[in-house]
């Protein structure tokens, strides 16, 4: 009997060897090298951001300014059920299979040619999850024979990508403390690298690296000074210097959530992660820069050590969370020299270019029309604050009902740009930034809330700045800081952008449209209404000689929950949960 089994096993092995993975009905494992090459391989999309650098640029040209008008739906796939809400996901495509995540921590594998569902993984969520800003998920990661994603109860789940069965599942933190994962994991050299979101009171943001095969924790890096990281389960090094920019023991509870994940540049071998705003909100309670909150951090993926940091909003007092993606790119200067740079469009309304090898400040230019809190940045990269626009210290009074002085300041706390990823075109050398024009009334209160004891700590109301638009997609030249063109949208932009060598810029709107613009002029060339607001991130790939475009549709996210006056305009948009796939039909 045993012999028979051995013989059949041998036969299978032999068959695999001769026929290859595909012929045996098995998808081939995804290698680290394939992930590194994702940005240039056109037949798949293996990572969030369409490459570890997250440039969201495709070299494909079949779809271009001339042909895009012929783009039509190929298939659509409903996420089904009653679990709709925000769909901020970006799909992956590997070996003819699409992997897409949805609201409520769900993941589907779908035949990329037909839209037929292959399997669904529906994560069993506990009652007590507390995601601050809707039950979204931004996407999966893929490596070897597994597909990975983060869940609203703060776990990373590894599934067999053929069957959808759980291989391992690891809680990074306790969801009961308010933690959740909404970002897509990043894969670097066999490690799954993730940030974390949430944490209601007294937490410190961290970056985590897990072994892709086993889920074992390799290292943890806290992003606030004074806290000690771990490596291989043992204490490693302290982040920064204790009490250098935080007083007392406030560094132990200093905030800095890492909820949007990071990018990776194989050239420098560094991870680029953003950290959230410091806690507590009232900046008068924590004098100093409050390192490394509201910062971009370069981290060594092997050890979790911070190689450099740059703080976009030192001593934040406006909730200018610093998590927005940092995109590595090659900056061509006027003298023709190429600098290894990294760019980021911050909540605070400024677009930063840094040297990605050492974090050296190169430039900061506004990408929104108003930036009250600072007039600009000096040569060293420090903001030139406008103190009139910092919400007042409640201890000084001056506001209504015992609040501190309230100010109206732009951008709002939802940012000149929020989570929605921008794109960089290697063809035009421009960044395409989904931005919003809004300000806020903001004030600090002398009181806080803790389970039944009094309430609040700061307050805000968001207000649009212009009558005709809030959203504006802008083409920014990173070399000059000049905006080449802008495309205005009535509702706030809340989805990702993609650009292609075919001269196109794709993005979605809350009104339900997926649109394609000319990358040089911003002229609208194509649009399609998906039936619900688009807050997902589009992708493109090539299959059977045809170029496909896909985007998830489903209105939700932070705007309808937080938007103040803005929410009144957007609350009538229909919810949804649908994967839309388009292609250019072959000429008969």
């Amino acid at each position: 009997m045993a012999m028979t089994i051995n013989r059949s096993l041998a036969a299978v092995t032999l068959a695999l060897a001769t026929m290859g993975w595909a012929a045996a009905g098995l998808a081939k494992p995804v290698t680290d090298q394939e992930i590194l090459n994702d940005a240039t391989s056109t037949g798949d999309v293996l990572s969030y951001g369409m490459g570890p650098q997250a440039q969201r640029f495709s070299p494909l040209t079949a779809l271009n300014r001339d042909t895009v008008k012929g783009l039509v739906p190929a298939w659509a796939f409903s996420f089904g059920g009653e679990k709709q809400r925000g769909q901020e996901s970006q799909p992956l495509v590997a070996d003819g299979v699409m992997y897409v995540t949805g609201s409520y921590s769900r993941l589907w594998a779908v035949d990329a040619r037909t839209g037929k569902e292959l399997w669904e993984y529906n994560h069993r969520l506990p009652d007590g999850i507390m995601p601050c800003c809707d039950v979204v998920n931004r996407g999966a990661a893929i490596h070897g024979d597994k597909v990975y994603f983060g869940t609203l109860d703060a776990k990373i789940v590894a599934l067999n990508k053929e069957t959808g069965k759980v291989v391992w599942s690891k809680a990074l933190e306790d969801y009961k403390a308010g933690y959740a994962i909404t970002s897509a994991p990043l894969v670097v050299d066999g490690l799954i690298i993730s940030g974390i979101g949430g944490g209601e009171f007294g937490v410190v943001g961290k970056v985590y690296a897990l072994d892709a095969e086993t889920g074992e924790m390799k290292w943890i890096r806290p992003v606030i000074e004074g806290n000690v990281g771990t490596l291989d389960g043992k204490p490693s090094t302290m982040t920064g210097t204790k009490n250098a920019s935080w007083q007392g023991d406030q560094w132990q509870t200093g905030g800095g959530g890492t909820w949007l994940g990071g990018t990776y540049d194989p050239g420098t071998g560094l991870l680029y992660f953003g950290s959230g705003n410091p806690a507590p909100w009232n900046s008068h309670l924590r004098p100093g820069d409050n390192l490394y909150s509201s910062s971009r951090l370069a981290i060594d993926p092997k050890t979790g050590e911070i190689k450099w940091s740059y703080q976009t909003t030192p001593h934040d007092g406006w909730d200018f969370d610093g998590v927005n993606e940092a995109i590595p790119f090659d900056l061509k200067g006027a003298d023709g020299k190429v600098v290894q740079a990294v760019a980021t469009a911050d909540r605070n309304g400024f677009f930063f270019v840094l040297d990605r090898t050492n974090g050296k400040f190169i430039s900061a230019n506004p990408f929104v029309s108003r930036h009250d809190w600072a007039t600009g940045f000096d040569d060293k990269g420090r903001p030139i604050y406008n103190p009139d626009f910092r919400p007042g210290n409640p201890a000084d009074g001056g506001g209504a009902d015992g609040k501190g002085k309230s100010v109206f300041a732009a951008p709002s706390f939802l940012g000149g740009k929020n989570w929605m990823p921008m794109a960089y075109s290697q063809k035009t050398g421009l960044f395409y930034i989904p931005s919003n024009e809004w300000g806020m009334d903001i004030w600090n209160e002398p009181i806080t809330y803790k389970k039944g004891a009094a309430y609040l700590g700061a307050g805000f109301t968001i207000k649009p700045l212009y009558e005709d638009h809030i959203g504006a997609l802008r083409a920014m030249d990173p070399a000059t800081g000049k905006i080449k063109w802008e495309y205005k949208n009535r509702a706030p932009l809340w989805g990702g952008v993609m650009t292609t060598a075919g001269g196109l810029v794709f993005f979605g709107t809350p009104e339900g449209y997926l649109k394609a613009l000319d990358d040089e002029t911003g002229k609208e060339l194509w649009s399609f209404n998906t039936g619900s607001g688009v807050v997902g991130s589009p992708i493109t790939w090539e299959m059977d000689g045809e170029q496909y475009v896909a985007v998830v549709s489903g209105w939700g996210g932070a705007v309808p929950l937080w938007g103040g006056d803005v929410a009144d305009y957007v609350k009538s948009f229909n919810q949804g949960g649908m994967m839309w796939v388009f292609k250019l039909p072959k000429k008969a």
């Binding site: 009232n282 924590r286 809330y449 004891a453 309430y455």
Partner: protein
């Protein structure tokens, strides 16, 4: 003429009968969508979200939920003829979040909503901000207390001179903000932050801090066990800080008739001494609400 209590008892019996009868067992689970007074009566079950990690008021033990608010809730439910069903609620950043997750929009996962919440600040601004709920029936008054070591602070706490002491506070509470902002932050470095009140009191016992400032009930309930040598005084903060506040209940706007029934039950409990007895069982002094 039958008393109000008799009528309530009758309504309760009717509700129980309905729950067992025509609606079937699923009536208990009819929790999705708009729930009004009649549907609660029909199912005979009062759903009560509670804070899981909030001793001595409410906590989850091996035997189920326990604490002052849980005891009060059981008693109230019994007096109005409904069966209480408790479920834990994770506290949000603002009380508005708790009201949204607890009793009007409901749970994100199964979209079920609770009916009645205890331990909600009875506050005009919170009522104005939350028009889907009714805040009512303040049933006690809470404040802050300081527990200190006599050796470390022989004259008691002095905000002008104790910047070099170590003072334990629960993170992001009023005492925390008081220490970090009063007197231009002179006490900022003195604040030692703890995630849980019992951890602060254990630190006082161990000499790791010289004093702790917490909610009075937490000090009263845990100091005798954790830091029996400590001296306990009410703690009143100057300036803009609230040192005392009133705690009541919240219910969905569509269940307004329950406001009167629950309010009457709580008033009766205050009058007949059962309220004070529930607090005393937890080692806490019951203070009648000031308004």
């Amino acid at each position: 003429m039958p008393s109000r209590r008799d009528l309530l008892g009758l309504a309760g019996a009717l509700g129980a009968a309905l729950a067992l009868g025509g609606r079937g067992a699923r009536a208990d689970e009819d929790l999705v969508g708009t729930v009004n007074y009649d549907t609660i009566r029909a199912r005979g079950v009062l759903r009560i979200p509670y804070y899981e990690d909030f001793a001595p008021y409410s906590t989850t033990t091996a035997d189920g939920p326990a604490g002052i608010d849980i005891d009060i809730a059981r008693e109230v439910a019994g007096r109005i003829g409904l069966r209480p069903r408790f479920y834990a609620l994770v506290a949000g950043e603002k009380v508005d979040d708790d009201l949204r997750n607890g009793i009007w929009r409901g749970n994100l996962i199964d979209r079920s909503v609770g009916d009645l919440m205890f331990h909600i600040p009875y506050d005009r601004q919170i009522q104005i901000n939350n028009d889907q709920v009714v805040l009512f029936a303040p049933y006690f008054e809470e404040g802050f207390a300081i527990a200190y070591s006599e050796q470390a602070m022989p004259g008691g706490f002095d905000p002008e001179a104790d910047g070099d002491k170590r003072i334990g506070v629960e993170i992001d509470t009023l005492p925390d903000f008081y220490l970090t902002s009063a007197n231009n932050g002179a006490l900022r470095a003195a604040a030692v932050h703890f995630a849980k009140p019992v951890e602060a009191l254990a630190a006082l016992r161990d000499g790791a801090v010289d004093a702790v400032i917490l909610q009075a009930a937490q000090v009263e309930a845990f100091a005798p066990r954790l830091a029996p040598q400590a001296i306990v005084r009410p703690f009143v903060m100057g300036g803009l800080f609230h040192s005392r506040w009133t705690v009541g209940c919240a219910i969905r706007e569509s269940c307004r008739p329950l406001v009167y029934e629950v309010g009457d039950a709580l008033a009766a409990m205050a009058a007949d001494g059962s309220m004070a007895a529930i607090f005393a069982k937890a080692g806490v002094t019951w203070l009648a609400p000031a308004r």
